[in-house]
């Protein structure tokens, strides 16, 4: 899978996170994985269909998820209740919709599905593509793993 299919997600992250009040957006490591990915904490999955077919999975630790939900809701979140999960799903939706707009500009129109949010330790996630591209993105001290798999 070509790295160019991941840059719209990174660019969307750079656009969206400052709107939520995060100042410092940086990129950590990027890698390709052929095996399944393992996530602990909160994972949000969104399907993508159009000129590209695949999935994107956003992974946050439990602490990062609570912190992001607190920022989005403007109040301290102690436990991830329905409202905070709704906020996190909405964040994944905004990030993916932003990437979809950038794909459109690249001549690759895509539509996105509704997000599904999962919680649990050591969840194994396998996507149908041969390779998953993983990028660690930071908004201040919050790390979000973005895992992208397209079928070509």
């Amino acid at each position: 899978m070509d790295l160019k299919y991941v840059s719209p997600f990174m660019e969307s992250f750079e656009n969206v996170m400052p709107q939520l009040g995060y100042g410092n957006i940086t990129k950590g490591g990027a890698c390709f994985k052929e095996q399944e990915i393992i996530n602990s904490g909160v994972s949000v999955i969104i399907g993508i269909v159009g000129k590209l077919r695949g999935n994107v999975v956003y992974g946050l630790s439990q602490a990062a998820a609570k912190s992001v939900a607190s920022t989005m809701m403007g109040m301290e979140v102690e436990e991830l209740d329905d409202m905070s999960k709704s906020a996190l799903s909405e964040l994944a939706n905004m990030l993916t919709a932003g990437a979809a707009t950038l794909f459109y500009d690249l001549g690759l129109p895509v539509d996105i599905s509704t997000p599904t949010l999962l919680q649990g330790e050591n969840i194994g996630i396998k996507m149908s593509a041969n390779q998953v591209c993983c990028v660690e993105l930071y908004a201040d001290d919050i790390k979000i793993d973005v895992n992208v798999a397209f079928e070509k």
Partner: protein, 287 residues
């Protein structure tokens, strides 16, 4: 179309009379009018309209604040902005505030009526999908099970799910895209998956990877068949499926926080299989 009840929000009596004439000529019923935030709230509560036309500039408030107030009363009420102002920024703000369509003044009767018909048709189409999808997904599950394993479930139950449930161990998630977006998931324990895959392959699976790949394909076939049948019933749905994402773990909690989903629990020869699906009303695609 069922009877459409309209409330007109505008601070100009000329505009109200002009819009009222258009609606009455087209057989729509105007049930109220308002020019301030307080009037909007009381008229909407009292008359429960299907649709509200909204001016953007109003004394002491604006169209977006009024739209939010209306959706706090009932989020299903459609708001169409009818305003002399129309630029990218204001249209984007309107979209963010869940406005269904935007028509610029001076109002062209055909343009306004087309916008209303489009908004109401989308509503009817969603209602159709909501009433049809679960039986179709259930049938696709039964049919795929029958064709791939020559068995039928011993019992199946259908129910509306809460926003959250715990995975039995292995879950396939398939995103659905079209006029409305949604997702299907198929959930079962590792033992059930093992038994099912043995029956499908007619041999022992070589590895956990193979088991997961077969279950993913099984879920893919069910969702693809179900969406094809739904598209056949109404081609405006245009449903398409994303490839399956496969998850496994000891205690996975799955949520769909922003929409209701429905489930089928099928007791099969291989163990319990859960199918859960749901669609979101989502944002209108503006023309």
């Amino acid at each position: 179309m069922d009877e459409i009840k309209i409330v007109i929000v505008d601070d100009s009596s000329f505009s109200i009379a002009f819009l009222r004439d258009i609606f009455e000529r087209n057989g729509l019923k105007v049930v109220g009018e308002a020019g301030t935030l307080e009037e909007v709230v009381s008229v909407v509560k009292e008359t429960k309209p299907t649709l509200v036309t909204m001016d953007m500039t109003l004394p002491g408030t604006d169209g977006l604040e009024c739209t939010r107030a209306i959706h706090q009363i009932d989020e299903n009420i459609k708001v169409i902005v009818v305003s002399s102002m129309m630029d990218d920024e204001i249209v984007n703000e309107a979209k963010k505030n869940k406005v269904s369509a935007y028509v610029q003044k001076p109002v062209d009767e055909d343009e306004l009526m087309t916008a209303i018909r489009r908004v109401m048709a989308a509503d009817e189409l969603f209602a159709f999908l909501e009433s049809e999808y679960l039986p179709v997904f259930k049938e696709a599950l039964m049919d795929s099970l029958n064709r791939m394993t020559k068995t039928v479930p011993t019992s199946e139950k259908v129910f509306v799910s809460g926003s959250e449930f715990k995975s039995e161990g292995i879950t396939s998630i398939i995103g659905i895209i079209g006029k409305f977006s949604g997702r299907m998931l198929l959930d079962m324990s590792a033992d059930t998956a093992d038994n099912l895959v043995k029956a499908i392959l007619k041999r022992e699976p070589k590895s956990m990877d193979e088991t997961i790949a077969v279950i993913g394909e099984f879920a893919n076939i069910i969702s693809g068949n179900a969406c094809s049948i739904l598209n056949g019933k109404n081609k405006a749905l245009g449903l398409r499926v994303a490839p399956p994402a496969m998850l496994h773990g000891d205690s996975i909690l799955i949520s769909a926080p922003n929409f209701t989903t429905k489930s089928v629990a099928a007791e099969t020869a291989f163990g319990l299989i859960w199918l859960n699906a749901g669609f979101q009303r989502g944002e209108e695609k503006w023309t």
